[in-house]
Amino acid sequence: QQQVKQSPQSLIVQKGGISIINCAYENTAFDYFPWYQQFPGKGPALLIAIRPDVSEKKEGRFTISFNKSAKQFSLHIMDSQPGDSATYFCAASWSYQKVTFGIGTKLQVIP
């Protein structure tokens, strides 16, 4: 049973556009929601993370929106660039326990 559902699985966005990736979770005990970015041939790296006591977190062009009542969170990439082309994983964990990942979204930003 997939505890973190991620969509879409692939996404093509034009340079300068907004990329949006959505995730939904089931376990209300989750208290940490990170996004990881993975380039081909590399391991994932933490991009940005949020806790459920805030509804939004922004770091540069990357924003997480969090809706606790709907048990959903999303990643928005503003002014998307070709260098943002990568696979993005949402994830969730609680009380420093092992992390549950979504299936990943392959983002391609075309010039």
């Binding site: 940490y32 990170p34 990881y36 041939g41 590399k42 391991g43 994932p44 790296a45 933490l46 993370a49 696979t87 994983f89 964990s93 420093y96 092992k98 992390v99 990942f101 979504g102 299936i103 990943g104 392959k106």
Partner: protein, 112 residues
């Protein structure tokens, strides 16, 4: 910044061989993990350890085994490799009071 190393980077072997994938970290992290990932696909947790002499199986059943004799070292062993074991194997570590995972660059295993 944290350092976590995986060797070898690529490995091509024949069926039936015994292999060990190495993972080392220099951050003193107690928690370490092994994930299996097919190209561009979901990360599947196959083993984890919360400290020396502590190992657990993950969510995805795996024929591999792990050991944790030293804090910094978390090797993964396949006693008899098969083509179905062909995949990328990613090692990660995590500090005791920090949820951030640090990943190695992975080992791409091909079993012929």
């Amino acid at each position: 910044e944290a350092d976590i190393y995986q060797t070898p980077r690529y490995l091509v072997i024949g069926t039936g061989k015994k292999i060990t994938l190495e993972c080392s970290q220099t951050m003193g992290h107690d928690k370490m993990y092994w994930y299996q990932q097919d190209p561009g696909m979901e990360l599947h947790l196959i083993h984890y350890s919360y400290g020396v002499n502590s190992t657990e199986k993950g969510d995805l059943s795996s024929e591999s085994t792990v050991s944790r004799i030293r804090t910094e070292h978390f090797p993964l062993t396949l006693e008899s490799a098969r083509p179905s074991h062909t995949s990328q194997y990613l090692c990660a570590s995590q500090g005791a009071d920090n949820e951030k995972l640090f990943f190695g660059s992975g080992t791409q295993l091909s079993v012929l």
